[in-house]
Symmetry: C2
Subunit: 395 residues, 2 copies
């Protein structure tokens, strides 16, 4: 720390000397030696290591589990929400909800790209980060004064840092910013769903019966013989994208589970699934019965709700030899592992990895191609903007 | 609850009228409607529903993460350990550590099998349960007076209940009881490892270079071209079994990671792995460097340590397109999901399901076939009996 450009230089940007770590290890303040995601506290100072990028923040997108926790803990009033989030960022140097452990992502404009940054970004690019806020050094300078506390999308001013191995994408010019941000936030879900359903469609395993007919038959039935896919929380953002991805990947039948009839009607109108069922995902017996009644059990079950306690129902809704993909940040590792064992269920359980190569493009293309997905997203964003969230986020 | 055999009948066993649930839902006291694993409190009364089995407890086997938490919280003295465990069982009607959420399993003798039980057990059978204690109705009647607090294996008296869909196995006559119990406790790990490594060996993906030679070459090198497998915590119970399973399933190279040189020497002597490396699994950079230095990154990484904070290192030790299997009950779902995203790692992450068909037989056979595995288990059991645990459980 004898370097003049480092010591005490916490305001002015400027190149650092010395090697940084593409993982951002040099930004970890405590505890020492862990990755930025696992750290309690990061160094968010604006001056850059040679392979870093600094972004002027425009908007944070808190992840659904974190937003729900904050709203329930504070009551949701704007001042209380700001008073919850700002100290977290100030203390930790990143926006990582200490209760959920999760973050979200952000959009902004590149202010400066270090000379050795491999990300291919230049000053002036409007981008979205595709790594979690839980590992992104962040400073907020405006107290989030423009946030009404009602939306996961949080207007704000400040800066964020991207590492050499971070990922980011230039925002598409053809989609409104809030829509693109909402889509990119959950882009890992449809990408991994697509991969898992493709594999299930290619291999042996439980599959759907032939094309259903008669009353209630879907307009666009799935591939005959393709796997049955259940999307728990199909009316939400990650859920609707995953439903569309499952169908494109060869699902024989897509079952969408929602918690309330109003959401069911919207999902039905969107035409993304073959069958809509209303069930409480936290009630394992009711959920499994609903999925079975709709053509299950599923070969692939995708959990996209943001409340705890859905592990058992997801396992019971899945056929032996099937796969459960947990995207919800409210998932308990122990509950899933022991819950499956407890019912002697031979299911493969995946931790939803937010990174799959090509995920941003896949998600944006789904929204461009599928008016049903776009409609659900726009309705959500509009509801959030109005502070009217009758169906809650994804459950 | 108007049935005479039910109301207030908390001591004498006797058949219940009315249908039970094979999942044990009828034993859930609170909260209503959840599965027994997710319940706060179960009804452990000894009288049986028609498809249940009652077992006279002989020995509990606390899972490693729970035992470690209890020891660290209490200091580990016998009276303090008993004073921690007994109230949990009395209050919850099951042994589920409220901090870790995990349980363990037990051995005992069948007292009574309900007339509709599908488990094929009869009074007098000496069995081990293969479902977690976290969902097994349990009463302890001796205050665990025979437990010295030093071992995960806890002698005790009382009874436990198995449901229609529970799984249990008759203890093998050819293996000592404590050995069989220890093996069966972690039987899911080698079974799932075997499945994942077999698939990796059959499909495309990162694989080991040809058979190594020169100084330090293993006696039994892996299959040339087979996948590189890293076992984090290879000196422990689940780790040593998983290492043996990986080799049998076609691993090209098995790298065993242990936290200390003493454990490394024991693992080397056991001959289960091709390379032993000493590293702190909580230090992601050190762990990844160690695995790479030993022939990695791994196509399959198996996490068998019982301390938190190993997610990042496991991900960094794994090649793109590879798989991480998390068996540790100390795994954080969020840390794994966001950690992988945070370093843009395209790895598949599995929640270790404790149930895989045939897992008990596979694990017992590995111990019978592999003197190295048996030796490590016997040393662990002996250390625990002496209260001497220099290397800790699995880390």
């Amino acid at each position: 720390m004898g370097d003049v450009t480092e010591v005490g230089d916490v305001t002015g940007p400027g190149p650092r000397s010395g090697p940084g770590s593409p993982l951002g290890l040099h930004r970890v303040l405590e505890p020492a030696g862990v990755l930025p995601q696992a750290a309690w506290k990061l160094d968010p100072r604006p001056s850059l290591w040679p392979d870093e990028v600094r972004v002027a923040v425009e908007r944070l997108n808190l992840d659904a589990a974190s937003f729900r926790q904050l709203r329930e803990a504070t009551g949701g009033a704007a001042a209380d929400m700001r008073a919850a989030v700002c100290p977290i960022v100030a203390e930790r140097g990143k926006m990582q909800n200490p209760v959920t452990g999760s973050g979200g992502m952000l959009t902004g404009v590149v202010e400066e790209a270090g000379p050795c940054s491999p990300l291919g970004l230049a000053a002036g690019d409007r981008i979205a980060t595709l790594v979690s806020l839980s590992l992104t050094p962040l400073v907020i300078t405006d107290g989030l004064a423009g946030w009404d506390g009602r939306s996961e999308q949080v207007p704000g001013r400040g800066h964020a840092i991207l590492f050499g191995r971070s990922i980011a994408t230039v925002l598409p010019p053809d989609l409104p910013g809030p829509l693109a941000l909402a889509v990119l936030d959950v882009a890992g879900a449809p990408a991994l769903t697509s991969r898992v359903v493709s594999r299930a469609a290619a291999g042996p395993g439980p599959s759907a019966p032939g094309t259903p007919d008669g009353p209630g038959a879907p307009d666009r039935p799935g591939a005959p013989g393709g796997p049955v896919v259940a999307i728990i929380g199909a009316g939400g953002k990650s859920g609707s994208l995953s439903a569309a991805a499952a169908r494109e990947a060869g699902a024989g039948r897509v079952i969408g589970v929602v918690p309330a009839e109003a959401e069911g009607a919207a999902l039905r109108a969107a035409g993304l699934v073959d069958e809509v069922v209303v069930a409480d995902a936290r009630d394992p017996v009711a959920l499994a019965a609903a999925v079975r009644g709709a053509g299950g059990p599923a070969a692939v079950t995708v959990v996209c709700v943001d409340v705890p306690g859905c592990e058992g129902g997801a396992v019971l809704s899945t056929a032996d030899g099937g796969t459960v993909v947990f995207f919800s940040m409210a998932t308990s590792f122990t509950a899933a592992a022991l819950g499956a064992e407890g019912v002697a269920a031979d299911v493969t359980m995946l931790i939803g990895n937010g990174y799959v190569p090509g995920h941003a493009q896949l998600a944006l293309d789904l929204v461009r191609r599928e008016p049903g997905v776009r409609g659900l997203f726009e309705a959500r964003i509009s509801e959030e903007t109005r502070g009217n969230r009758p169906g809650l986020e994804e459950k």
